[in-house]
Amino acid sequence: MTILVFTGVLFLGAMAAGLLGSLTGLGGGVVLIPLMTLVFKVDIHYAIGTSLVSVIATSSGAAAAYVREGITNIRLGMFLELATTLGAIGGAWLAASLPTSFIAILFGVILILSAIASFAKLADPVFTDDGSPLSRLLRLNNSYPTPGGEKRYTVKNIVGGFLMMNVAGIISGLLGIGSGALKVIAMDNIMRVPFKVSTTTSNFMIGVTAVASVGIYLHKGYIDPGLSMPVMLGVLLGAFIGSRILAKAKVASLKILFAGVVLVLAIEMIYNGFTHNI
């Protein structure tokens, strides 16, 4: 296989990952890393670095649209970025010192958890009281546009949410994924933020979280232009197409299909980790 063919196939694979990732909300990274390591036999450190770059691209691209619509809670995002960036740096340092087989196994486990979490029933009773003193001090209580006009909400359990975001940051830095599923759990189930707000705010934070660890990956030489070029462009294009057809697609059946794919990839990653094939 020449570089030309390799680049072309990787581009198509990245496009499919970006498309599925944006349709199901799981993000492209969870498919990209198994695709690169299992199918293309790329070293997992290169794969993680490449995935981080694509995560920054899709997150920033999508955030640009959501922020303008006024759904994203920017203050909440900025505040929680404190937790995710600190976690991400720790995660990136861990990744550099852990053996690749261990990373592969951990990746598989997180993959399975993310797939299950995407089916988890989200708590939707949103609170509209005055909120806690901390949420007022941090000005986290906000409103968001709905078809029936602006709807108010207050943010609960800020300390718990902050700690969960810390974990999400570590996972992101360690495995090179956006860990959007964890971020949404933290905001939805712990902080009781409305679903629309939590998904867009999570997406808003993913880019900065990834940048926090990408510096370390870059410094160690894990970011390769020959891999990043087709993957970044492919994922961006796929995610863009995904956002255009999202309104028409049957998301529920797609989610089941995607979860099935993710499950197979996860088992494959764990198996290869245990047999030291990765």
Binding site: M1, V208, G215, I223, M232
Partner: protein, 132 residues
């Protein structure tokens, strides 16, 4: 363009959250767009020069200085190399969220929301710590 929006907002009254959101939105959009164009250009040069060779990614070897540091990178781009040009595009991409943070600090400063000036400042400090 952004400076015009800022001065317009300031002339009416103090800058509001909605104005900040609009500027942050376009900042992110143009950052990703610019970086994609540079990466694509570098990719075309790279494939033209090396497209018929065999890829080697199975074992990790690390990257040379021209892929990690701006100075050697720009020199290599000057010699017409494609891979450092792709990497420059990735640098622009990485700089985009950082620019968003820096911009937000000024935004909160205009809003006189000093608590968030500090919070955002700490995030920026953590981010920049990585590139030293």
């Amino acid at each position: 363009m952004d400076s015009r929006i800022i001065s317009k907002a300031l002339s009416k009254k103090k800058i509001r959250d909605a104005d900040l959101e609009k500027i942050i939105g376009s900042l992110l959009r143009y950052g990703v767009l610019l970086s994609s164009v540079i990466v694509l250009t570098g990719g075309i040069v790279y494939l033209y020069r090396h497209g018929r060779e065999i890829p080697q990614y199975h074992t990790f070897r690390g990257e040379p200085d021209k892929m990690r540091m701006l100075g050697p990178m720009l020199q290599a781009i000057g010699r017409g190399e494609g891979r450092p040009l792709i990497q420059l595009g990735l640098f622009v991409l990485i700089a985009t969220p950082i620019a968003r943070i820096i911009f937000s600090i000024f935004g909160y400063l205009f809003e006189k929301d000093y608590l968030y000036v500090v919070i955002t400042g700490v995030v920026l400090f953590v981010l920049l710590l990585n590139f030293c």
